[in-house]
Symmetry: C2
Subunit: 348 residues, 2 copies
DNA sequence: CTCACAATTGTGACCGTGCACATGCGAGCA
DNA sequence: TGCTCGCATGTGCACGGTCACAATTGTGAG
């Protein structure tokens, strides 16, 4: 009844063309910044677009060009601060470059779930994948499915320097370890992340390299699961034989759990035991005591991953990408080795 | 030169049809579960699909049907635990229902950025929006742009009971406040979230209602920004006039910052001051002392939002959705009112 | 003034899928 | 046997862009 049709289709380039008195192809040329268009014509078309509130249909474009302008992000642990921050940075960077981001979270990481999530992303015809679940089995599944789109994980920057982030992780772990050594600690324990995470591996490697450099000994690292709960549990275990004066935890959450266990045992930090974490999550500066940790540039890491993916997809990347290097943030959870531990030094 | 063409197009329904010896339309019918298909035909087609590794082209489907099967999620603060958890739940639920999720993060929340993000999502022809930045100005922009797709925010479950989450928030805040009152506290301060967040508003409301019920007095709540840094700052301010025995912070991060400030001042918790937070983020059970807080079912909240959106989009929802009610987790940061504060009771 | 050539614009087909509308075919019934 | 009806399947076009190519117009040199 009313003059305005409530459910009319969205305007197409042909509608715009009609209004501007040109052919649909000319409109298309405006959309794609074709060089050979008279300014007056272009202006007329732009005005028609404005008038009709025209918005290009991505589905049609994707169908016709065979390109979806969408990238997929596969993530485990998306609720953790670091990954979440990186994902946000990826989305931001992608949006700026005109890409859409489709994400799939892995709540459980069994192969079926991984495949499920990947199929979902591939159904969306993603042009590339960023993997934020750097677990071996994910890459196994990727291999097995013989994925055809390029993919990168946070720590790779293409195929040439696959170990860029790993380098940073190793460096960060070294800095943390060196910090403890400089404070006089000789008995340092490492609580590592899950075995199959490349970050965990790199951090452990950095720790061991530095321990070796200083000609110290250490227990085999405890393999954890990144959670504060595990840190607490590990702390209780460690306290059964108190043969250490410092602990380097592979992430802040585990360090916090550890602090809790140490507090429970009535120990003073850093008086009795020094603790260093990794990541510098926002609460780390407000724990008791504030946590010494290694700060990471999660956003830079995310941006680099996206840039790297663009590169793998054949696009020239012309925006700054590299994350800043990790740096040690010395707060109050680490201090000089307690005198009670000093006698041990006489052995040397 | 080689027999296999490296860049051949992906198989379409016509390819499948040819292989199965039927028309493309019959293949389409199989895809859409049309009832009238002979079983033998269907089997033959399915086999052809398998053989060709056929995967339906979403862009073509979207173009033809006018439906993208994509929903958009607009989020601020995606790096915070609660929202991140809810987003993950939304993605999971959406994936199960065959929907794709396109997310846009708001790093800054000025109107231009909000509009930018919304345009991005609308360009993808999302069929619905979930807003996890429940700030007034976001809704202002939504109004102004006269968005045509349905949208919900985490706290609404459609138009009929827009205050479902708000109710829970109020309830949770009441529980926290009541807990402190039951411990004998009479001078309770509230550190609230940002004014324009509906959650912050609801929690403050719950606090005030309960204070009123108990016929107590309180200072006007301090308006914070959810961060631990602010909690620390607020703590320092509060300590200048120590006229309280308990603090209820609108989220755990601010509570942690507050704990830090109290520790710095040499106060004992809960001996001198009791602290209660809200959200129950994973580290809360490992702070020092472990934080009394209100546990929220973030995943349930996310699922409900998605279900609500499906409803608004006209789909019948047949999966369980409601979040469990918030519940108080009493840990060690709250305790009986200190005796030094008791004399004040004699007034009554 | 005419022609070669570049700049600008138009025409029609095509991308992969779904819909509306035939069409063929066998069963049921008079 | 002939007719109707419902199931199973086929045909052609639309969706909203882009691409390849054709057509038209404009420009400068000879």
């Amino acid at each position: 009844m009313s003059a305005e049709l409530p459910k009319e289709r969205a305007p197409s380039i042909r509608d715009v063309a009609r209004l501007a008195g040109v052919s649909h192809q000319t409109v298309s040329r405006v959309l794609n910044d074709h060089p050979s268009i008279r300014d007056s014509t272009k202006a007329r078309i732009l005005q028609a677009m404005e008038e009709l509130q025209y918005r290009p249909n991505q589905a049609a474009r994707a169908l016709s060009k065979g390109r979806s302008r969408t990238i997929g992000v596969l993530t485990a642990s998306s609720t953790q601060y670091g990954p979440a921050r990186s994902v946000a940075a990826i989305e931001d960077a992608a949006r700026r470059q005109g890409y859409f981001v489709d994400t799939a979270n892995l709540s459980v990481a069994d192969p079926a779930a991984i495949e499920d999530a990947l199929v979902h992303l591939l159904d969306q015809a993603v042009e590339g994948l960023i993997i934020i679940a750097p677990q071996e089995r994910v890459f196994d599944v990727l291999e097995r499915m013989s994925i055809e789109v390029p993919y990168v994980s946070l720590q790779s920057t293409g195929n040439h320097d696959l170990r860029a982030l790993a380098e940073d992780q190793i460096l960060g772990a070294k800095m943390a370890t060196r910090h403890l050594i400089a404070l006089g600690h000789r008995e340092i324990v490492h609580i590592a992340g899950p075995q199959d995470w490349t970050e965990a591996e790199a951090r452990m490697q950095g720790f061991l390299l530095e321990i070796d450099d200083a000609e110290l000994m250490t227990h085999p690292p405890i393999l954890g699961d990144w959670t504060a709960d595990f840190g607490y549990f590990a702390g209780q275990e460690l306290l059964r034989s108190r043969d250490f004066s410092a602990v380097f935890a592979a992430n802040d959450e585990m360090a916090l759990g550890l602090l809790h266990a140490l507090h429970d045992a009535g120990l003073d930090i850093p008086g009795d035991v020094s603790v260093v974490g990794f990541d510098d999550i926002p609460v780390s500066s407000h724990t008791w005591p504030p946590l010494t940790t290694v700060h990471q540039d999660f956003e830079g890491i995310g941006r680099r991953a996206f840039a790297s993916l663009l590169g793998a997809m054949g696009t020239i990347v012309d925006f700054p990408t590299g994350p800043t290097a990790p740096c040690l943030v010395a707060r109050d959870s680490s201090g000089p080795v307690p005198v009670s531990r000093l006698p041990l030094l006489k052995r040397y």
